[in-house]
């Protein structure tokens, strides 16, 4: 480009920009990511399955499914659960996927309100407990509970009785012992906030805000994410100094399965009160052109051959009651009797305000 003729060079530049932009702006209706509709079962169909980044499925399962049905599942990871839902909402008009898996109850109302899903009732729902079913547009696939975990060795050595309820955590004998995650940046952190709201409520003599004020005065430590709470502060899993952490009800069996040296008993235990239940759903994307194949993919996700693998691959419990749990889960996992939940849509409507109020309490 020459300085002697700047106008010419600018014109050239504009031409290039226009070309580039034009190349990217052809009619969006001419291409779609969905394959053509089909009825013949063995005709090759590609189904794009959008999931959060914790989703894991074995290649063997996908291959045998393709051999049987002609349906090739392409897995499309889309960040964490919140990111995924928002990506799906954002690309609603030209969907990335035919089936979406991993929408949990915190984000469900946003997905439903956006009209992401078309109703489908899988025949396999007969094996799923009723309390997991919430809406015909989505199919429950798995559930997990966010609970306080505590370090058995620490409590035994200190001669301390572990807490039984959320309220116990405000007792001075548990001062400096608890680490939780910020609901603003962490999914279990948000679930834990929900469990305190479900327990103490927004009105009355002792609200969730009072509880958190007491917790703060009892020197609770707040981290941004689960990783550092568990692996840098929790005494049972690090050199840290906090023997209680917000984690999952399935964490203790994981400590047994993924121990560096074989152990019989997990070093951690779960406080079964005050747990918040997260249910993960799958749904067929409204407007998919491969509806019959998408239904079979939902059926696959709910079938025991996928459900059997859920505990070890994703931390959580299968929704299908016929699924076989691995021995370590049968032995060491607890399913809380009365998990907490919030009314449908309450989380979506209030989450901003609650996080704001929580931040105000904790920053004081």
């Amino acid at each position: 480009m020459s300085a002697k003729n700047p106008k010419r060079s600018i014109r050239r530049l504009i031409a290039i920009v226009v070309l580039v932009v034009a190349a990217g702006c052809s009619d969006p209706a001419t291409t779609t990511s969905s394959p053509a509709p089909t009825t013949a079962p063995l005709e090759h169909v590609e189904i794009i399955l959008m999931t959060h980044d914790s989703f894991v499925v074995s290649d063997e399962l996908l291959e045998s499914f393709e051999t049987e049905t002609g349906i090739e599942i392409r897995v499309l990871p889309a960040g964490d659960a919140g990111t995924m839902v928002n990506q799906a909402v954002l690309t609603k008009d030209n969907p990335l996927a035919d089936v979406i898996f991993g929408v949990d109850n915190s984000f469900l109302s946003r997905a439903l309100d956006a009209g992401l899903f078309a109703p489908y009732l899988s025949p396999l729902l007969a094996s799923v407990p009723d309390e997991l079913e919430i809406d015909p547009r989505v199919t429950p696939i798995d559930f997990g509970d966010v609970c306080i975990n505590w370090d058995k060795a620490y409590f035994a050595d200190a001669g301390l009785t572990p807490p039984k309820t959320l309220f116990d955590l405000t007792d001075a004998i548990y001062r400096d012992l608890l680490v939780v995650q910020s609901p603003a940046t962490s999914s279990p952190g948000l679930a834990f906030l929900y469990s305190t709201i479900a327990t103490f409520g927004e009105n009355g003599d002792y609200t969730w805000i009072d509880f958190w004020t007491d917790l703060r005065d009892n020197n609770v430590l707040v981290t941004s994410g689960w990783e550092e709470a568990y692996y840098s502060y929790f005494t049972a899993a690090s050199d840290g100094d906090r023997p209680m952490v917000v984690s999952y009800a399935s964490s203790p069996p994981f400590e047994v399965i993924y121990a560096t040296e074989p152990i019989d008993e997990p070093p951690t235990a779960v406080m079964t009160q005050g747990c918040f239940r997260q249910i993960e759903y799958a749904g067929i994307v409204a407007g998919t052109e491969a509806r019959p194949a998408a239904e079979r993919v939902i059926d696959l996700l709910l079938s025991t051959r996928f459900q059997d693998g859920i505990p070890l691959s994703m931390f959580v419990f299968p929704a299908n009651a016929d699924a076989t749990l691995p021995p370590a889960f049968v032995e060491h996992a607890v399913v809380p009797a009365d998990p907490l939940s919030l009314p449908d849509g309450a989380t979506e409507a209030n989450v901003r305000l609650w996080i704001l109020e929580w931040t105000e309490v904790m920053s004081r």
């Binding site: 480009m1 700047p6 050239r12 530049l13 290039i16 070309l19 580039v20 932009v21 190349a23 990217g24 702006c25 009619d27 001419t30 291409t31 990511s33 794009i48 914790s54 989703f55 894991v56 074995s58 290649d59 897995v75 499309l76 990871p77 960040g79 919140g82 990111t83 928002n86 954002l90 690309t91 990335l96 603003a184 940046t185 707040v222 941004s224 994410g225 689960w226 990783e227 550092e228 692996y231 840098s232 502060y233 899993a237 690090s238 050199d239 840290g240 100094d241 984690s247 964490s251 203790p252 994981f254 993924y258 121990a259 560096t260 040296e261 070890l312 691959s313 994703m314 931390f315 989450v351």
Partner: protein, 546 residues
């Protein structure tokens, strides 16, 4: 203007390609996606409105995040410059045993995922750490980690130019009676300004957009604009506010970059560069030995301790030690492809990203260095913007924009492309100062002697800038190895990169998962050091010597 218009048609085509290729690349893979997502965010149903900006102004938490972003970035940049400058000098001016290994090793921190470095620092800065004071969740933890991450940027960028400064200039000043400090201040420093400005602009950009370090080491009370964009987008789907924050971030970064670019135009001086091998010499006398080994000792301790913590943790088995975590990497657990496969994926993506970044980056650098027009100045700023754009903005931008004419949204090539976007500024930043310092007269002499521009470039410029290209390539490769933010949006689950695999392992309970994550981190460190070492050893004829 430094070059004459040549009637040679080939060179005109070359020149158009020089502009068109980098511009189309940036245009299609950066400007277009980011403009699309910002358009969707800010031009809602009711058309454009400023309500999102006033919403930011009315929320104290967002105002605090903006202010914190600015001041911690300034503080981090200054601190990194001060702490890393002695090492830049020592690496530039002295030769000592193991130098090329050291130089490769200091680049390792740069690529480590923050979730891993965060774990090391939480151990080091805790009450039981070597400092004995609890700095966790304080601003100090954030600043220290920022210096740790960006140390190599200053040492290599500033040291890269310093290694070529003619030492006779300083010797002359000393001979004329100037003390060491005065010589540095009045002779070396002015000559080094282009490189110092280049390094500062990169460190500023990196710390301005800090994400993982702030979240992990700062706890819940510190937040940057980058963190807020992520929160507003992923947790609340508040696209207007996220978009407005992204615009503010881009404006902030652009103004720094424009200032930098103006400065560079005014200040860069042509000088006679010397081959590094002639400049560096063995330390002489006690003071020099003390300086060299003191600086190396500090560098080793400062950068090595957190790395040693990670290696140590990867070797833990129950209460003892062993290589169990490494042995188990080849086995597929029920959850993942064998973690070892991530090594191959990462190497493949990094090679592709390096190639893209080197081609596009060198073209862009040539354009910026030799064609000093307003357009090339703006282009320089544009090239740097991906560094200052949140991974969420880029990731969401890819999603809404790259579905036509071909649907690239799920194509594996997007991974190295995203990495190259972040790596190109490094290629450009390491090459431009050297290119600008190449004397115009050398080039003109070649042209007068009848060499066509292509040949002038090949035989005069290329040998002189080859060394800088290697450094840029090393950075590009390393950046790709360590990139996590954008990758997590687009990497396929059956082809995780090392950072993605580390992150997945760290997301699960179980001591073996943790030690495996640490083992993969150790491998990532080793792979980085080895590949940078190999790239810098690479020579064509005597080109690499300069």
């Amino acid at each position: 203007m430094t070059e004459q218009d040549s009637p040679n048609r080939r060179s005109r085509i070359a020149r158009i390609a020089l502009i068109a290729i980098p511009l189309s690349f940036l245009g299609y893979f950066f400007v277009y996606p980011v403009a699309s997502i910002l358009g969707i965010s800010l031009f809602g149903e009711g058309g454009f409105s400023f309500s999102a900006f006033s919403a930011i102004a009315s929320r104290p938490s967002l105002r605090a995040a903006i202010w914190f972003t600015v001041w911690q970035a300034v503080a981090s940049t200054l601190l990194t410059l001060v702490v890393a400058m002695p090492a830049a000098y020592v690496f530039a001016r002295f030769s000592f045993p193991g130098k090329s290994f050291f130089r490769a090793a200091i680049t390792v921190p740069f690529v480590l995922p923050t979730v891993v470095v965060g774990a090391a620092y939480l151990a080091l800065l805790g009450p039981n750490g070597p400092l004995g004071i609890d700095l966790r969740q304080t601003i100090w933890a954030i600043l220290i980690a920022h210096v740790f991450y960006n140390y190599a940027v200053v040492v290599r960028t500033v040291g890269g130019l310093w290694a070529h400064l003619d030492p006779r200039l300083e010797e002359a000043a000393r001979m004329l009676g100037a003390g060491r400090w005065r010589t540095f201040r009045e002779v070396s420093l002015p000559l080094l300004r282009p490189a110092i400005a280049a390094a500062s602009s990169i460190v500023f950009l990196f710390t301005f957009t800090s994400f993982g370090v702030v979240l992990i080491l700062g706890g819940f009370e510190y937040s940057t604009i980058e963190v807020e964009i992520w929160r507003q987008t992923t947790a609340f789907l508040d696209l207007p506010v996220a978009g407005a924050l992204a615009v503010l971030q881009l404006v902030g970064i652009s103004s720094i970059l424009v200032a930098y670019s103006r400065y560079q135009e005014r200040r860069s001086v042509e000088q006679q560069l010397r081959p590094a091998i002639e400049v560096a010499r063995r330390p002489r006398g006690r003071r020099e030995f003390a300086l060299v080994w003191g600086v190396l000792g500090f560098t080793g301790l400062f950068l090595g301790t957190p790395l040693a913590v990670l290696v140590g943790r990867s070797l833990r088995v129950g209460d003892g030690y062993g290589f169990d975590a490494y042995r188990s990497l080849g086995k597929a657990t029920a959850t993942l492809v064998p973690p070892a496969e991530a090594i191959g994926n990462s190497a493949l993506f990094a090679t592709a990203a390096m190639a893209i970044a080197l081609i596009v980056g060198t073209m862009a650098a040539t354009l910026i260095a030799y064609h000093r027009t307003a357009v090339s100045r703006w282009f320089d700023v544009l090239l740097m913007l991906p560094l200052g754009t949140s991974a969420v903005t880029i990731g969401f931008g890819f999603l809404v924009a790259l579905d036509t004419p071909i649907d690239l949204r799920t194509a594996p090539i997007l991974v190295p492309i995203a990495h190259a976007l972040v790596a190109i500024p490094f290629v450009v930043r390491t090459e431009v100062p050297v290119m600008r310092s190449v004397r115009t007269r050398l080039r003109e002499a070649g042209a007068v002697l009848g060499a066509p521009p292509g040949r002038v470039w090949r035989e005069i410029d290329l040998p002189l800038i080859f060394r800088a290209m290697l450094v840029g390539a090393g950075f590009a490769f390393a950046i790709s190895l360590g990139e996590f933010g954008a990758t997590s949006f687009i990497a396929r689950p059956d082809a995780p990169t090392l950072p993605v695999a580390i992150f997945r392992l760290l997301g699960r309970a179980g001591a073996a998962n943790f030690t495996q994550a640490m083992a993969l981190s150790t491998i990532l460190m080793g792979l980085t050091a080895i590949s940078i070492l190999a790239i810098e050893r690479f020579r064509i004829g005597d080109m690499g010597e300069f």
